[in-house]
Amino acid sequence: MRASSLLSESLAVLGKELTSELRSRVALNAVGLFALTTLIAVAYQIGPYKIEEADRPHLLSALLWIILFFGATSGLARVFVKEEDARTAKTLRLAARPLAVFFGKLGFNLILLLGLESLVVPLYCALMSYTVEGVAGLVLVMACGAVAMAASSTMVAAIIARASGSGTLFAILTVPLALPLLVVLIQGTKAAATSAALAAVIPALRAIVSLAGVTLVAAVYLFPVVWHD
């Protein structure tokens, strides 16, 4: 009973996010255009042949994640910031249980990130002629990475939405939390690019999944506090 209504309430929040995003398209435009701009700047200035063959797997995966991270940072905080800006936060706070809000918003950010990845990664591979041996491994790394990144950035967004000057704070607070994740994501992407065997990405994947798990557990415990105070 409780679990099923939590699910239905989370879906209600997610549905509301999607409807209002499709009608305003603010986050979509911000994330998409930001990522495309960075991608074009990188591709134009560096292009496929400026990097030595030996350095390609590592450098190209680092560049890819920098593009993705920048794009994501520009939009992920909006889920909570817009509620405070539009003064709907209190209305939502009084009507919904905190975890439904968290999972609904997490779901929205996850969809946003997966959308961003499926837009940027193929374009990046084409523009930079980045050949990926293990496509399945790359998909796994991207999917798990999106979950981990959505979990930590949704939490940080909830925190900064209640402080003043939230735009700059989001970057300041996310970077230290996201750095370890970015390091393993770059490792995983590099592994997927160089080896077709799924086993190559397992070590990175293990770190990403446990980081995502730990963040989610902490979030479930902390979010009600952050949301209500």
């Binding site: 900064i160 209640r162 402080a163 000057g165 704070l169 300041i172 390091v183 393993v184 506090v225």
Partner: protein
């Protein structure tokens, strides 16, 4: 309300202890083998500073968790005091570390995993204070910054324990090396232990001062209200 005024003897003892440690670091301990000149002596300051930076992080976590459970603003003051000292000591550890790196490896910063972890610890502390400054409401500031501290703490172990083990590191073995044994000349070891104790004492002295100051402020405000 009034605390009994005791003769604060132990800050003086601490002062004497630190004086002895500083003397011993330069004149009692021998120069370590395998390091350039006298450069290894920085270990007696660098290691305790790094240790205090991590200790402060743990004290901050405990105080933050306690605040979230008991909702007592004194716990928030404890968390903030620990973080303030953590920030100072992680800056000191970074500076002493890069001085050593310059002498030993020729550049101040090598993107060694340990350098990265201390830099991120620094960033976490900085972010923590940036967040605190942006929230005017005491209760909200306390619970949001406590939450951020807990969130940062759960991701830090990955940096401190997982990442340095994935990468090759320039950093000398930590005190207890990868073979699980202590591998250090005995006089050096004594001085290092003394320095660790001294720096830990220094941390707690500064920490209690800061907390007492915050308590006075909280009490005065309460009196003004009633």
């Amino acid at each position: 309300m009034t605390e009994r005024k005791r003769f604060p003897w132990w800050p003086w003892a601490l002062f004497a202890w630190m004086a002895v440690v500083i003397w011993a670091a330069f004149f009692y301990a021998p120069a370590a083998k395998g390091f350039k000149g006298e450069s290894a002596r920085i270990v007696f300051f660098h290691v305790p500073q790094a240790w205090v930076a991590v200790l402060a992080f743990c004290v901050n976590l405990v105080a933050s968790l306690r605040y979230l459970r008991r909702r007592d603003l004194v716990d928030d003051a404890r968390a903030a005091a620990a973080a303030r000292l953590g920030l100072v000591f992680s800056i000191l550890a970074t500076v002493t570390g890069s001085l050593f790196a310059k002498v030993m490896w020729g550049s101040f910063w090598n993107w060694d995993p340990r350098e990265v972890s201390i830099a991120i610890l620094l960033l976490v502390y900085a972010a923590y204070f940036a967040l605190r400054e942006a929230i005017p409401d005491d209760e909200r500031r306390a619970s949001l910054s406590s939450s951020y501290a807990v969130l940062a703490f759960v991701t830090m172990p990955f940096l401190v324990f997982v990442v340095p083990r994935i990468y090759w590191s320039l950093h000398p073995d930590t005190l207890i090396n990868s073979r699980g044994s202590i591998d250090m000349e005995s006089r050096m070891f004594q001085v290092l232990m003394g320095a660790l104790a001294g720096f830990t004492g220094l941390f707690f002295w500064l920490y209690t001062l800061d907390v007492r100051l915050a308590k006075v402020g909280l009490r005065r405000r309460q009196r003004e209200e009633s």
